[in-house]
């Protein structure tokens, strides 16, 4: 299938084309870029909601519950679920669909598992463009579930318009453990498994923590859910919509979109430059020469990089 055909099939809501497009995006390269150029004008309509939190707090079950809710509202839903790639073998077991059994055969739900493929931050490198592909396909709402996150997995806030940070009772020092990390990126804090002991205390602790935080026109609400029973999910979805309206009225949504797309341009420039410099350095033999001297111990990595850049990169023109 050529790119033009793939793009037009995707825009005509052909599921297989969307699936193939995401694979292409995952593999990267010129074909993926050609596809993205073609479908980009059809993006920008979908609401994007990120769901992050530690392993086992019930992210997949919550995503399943939200999907069911949005379907009742007649909305078309896309789900991107990211699981970690093994750093040793490059393989991955992607098990998020297990909790979304019922949804898989709904023609207006598209669930795609992504392996993180070496990307840090809790997402896959393909996340941003996969969101766009689902958006162009015609999804009204796209739920992005990160890998089980600890303190540093904050990437999701770059892509999501609204980020949910999911917690559960029973961790004791859990707030302590994550307050400097993902809690800060939550537009809405969700206490899932709220039928467990300690839920109210956790809610109180979170509220107290928010009291200590800086004044902000949007104070993240703390919502209780029992996702396995669907309890609290409708109220959560209403808060998500409230946050979206707040973003639209404050201009925050446009700002977020612009930030995301401009930092993507930066990334593309950086990776293209890197590829160009490295291919020139390899072709000219500079790379091998540098590696040999590193191996002899006659060169340090900083000087090595400067030499590569001064012979094949921008430094050669700028002096």
């Amino acid at each position: 299938m050529n790119i033009e055909e793939l793009a037009s099939r995707l825009l005509n809501q052909d599921k297989r084309a969307l699936a193939r497009a995401i694979s292409l995006i995952e593999d990267g390269g010129v074909e993926a870029r050609a596809l993205m150029k073609r479908i980009y004008p059809n993006t920008g309509r979908a609401a994007v909601v990120g769901v992050t939190g530690a392993p086992g707090v019930g992210k997949s079950t919550l995503v399943d519950g939200l999907t069911a809710y949005y379907r009742q509202q007649g909305l078309r839903v896309g789900v991107l679920a990211v699981d970690p790639t093994s750093p040793f073998t490059g393989g991955a077991i992607l098990g998020d669909r297990i909790r979304m059994q019922e949804r898989g055969t709904d023609p207006d739900v598209f669930i795609r598992s992504l392996a993180s493929r070496g990307q840090v931050g809790g997402l896959s490198r393909a996340t941003g463009d996969s969101i766009r592909a689902m958006d162009a396909f015609g999804k009204d709402i796209i739920l992005v579930e990160t890998v089980g996150a600890g303190q540093g997995e904050v990437e999701v806030m770059r892509y999501a318009h609204t980020t949910l940070v999911v917690l559960m009772p029973g961790g004791g020092d859990e707030i302590q453990a994550i307050k400097a990390g993902i809690l800060e990126i939550g537009d809405i804090l969700v206490v899932n498994k709220a039928d467990m002991e300690g839920a109210d205390r956790l809610v109180r602790d979170l509220e107290m923590m928010l009291d200590l935080g800086p004044e902000s026109p949007w104070r993240p609400p703390v919502m209780k859910t029992v996702a396995s029973r669907g309890a609290g999910v409708a109220a959560l979805a209403e808060k998500i919509e409230e946050h979206r309206q707040y973003l639209i009225s404050s201009g925050g949504l446009d700002r977020k979109k612009l930030d995301q797309v401009s930092s993507q341009v930066e990334e593309i420039v950086a990776s293209s430059l890197l590829a160009e410099v490295m291919s020139r350095a390899r072709a000219a033999g500079t790379w091998q020469e540098v590696v040999d001297r590193l191996s002899e111990g006659t060169l340090d990595p900083y000087t090595a990089a400067e030499e590569v850049l001064s012979r094949h990169g921008l430094l050669s023109e700028e002096g």
């Binding site: 193939r20 393989g91 077991i93 297990i98 898989g104 055969t105």
Partner: protein, 132 residues
């Protein structure tokens, strides 16, 4: 760069034993492949839709219930209906000798009984994946 092979490991039907499926899933992962594990009690249609959305190269079905002669052809029909004719279909589990031929005629590329070394399954998968 070589494409990462994506494998759906699914358990259609009613039997509740997924140890074998998990061992195979793990072996695929350790061989550097991406495994979409769908869990127990899948209907053929759930497996077909997961295969479409996940854009897999391989569908590996584990069946211990004895219902393979009904379930497997349904999965294969569904895959064909969705245009996924380049997907490699494998079956693992307790399959009587006389049914193996039937399954292969239905479109199954390989049938693996209990005790098959996982390395054999991995190798078979690598050599027979149709989409490169």
């Amino acid at each position: 760069m070589e494409r990462t092979i994506r494998v759906l490991v699914g358990k259609p039907g009613l039997d509740g034993h997924d140890r074998g499926a998990k061992v195979v899933a793990r072996a695929y992962r350790d061989a550097g492949m991406e495994v979409i594990y769908t869990g127990l009690h899948q209907t053929p249609e759930q497996i077909v839709q997961a295969a479409v959305q996940e854009d897999v190269d391989v569908v590996a079905l584990s069946i211990l219930s004895g219902a393979h002669n009904t379930l497997v052809p349904k999965v294969i029909e569904g895959l064909k209906r969705e245009g996924l004719d380049d997907v490699l279909v494998l079956v693992g589990g307790i399959i009587p000798e006389e049914d193996v031929e039937f399954l292969k005629k239905a479109g199954v590329a390989g049938v693996f009984g209990p005790g098959t070394p996982t390395s054999e399954i991995i190798e078979f998968t690598r050599e027979n994946v149709k989409r490169k």
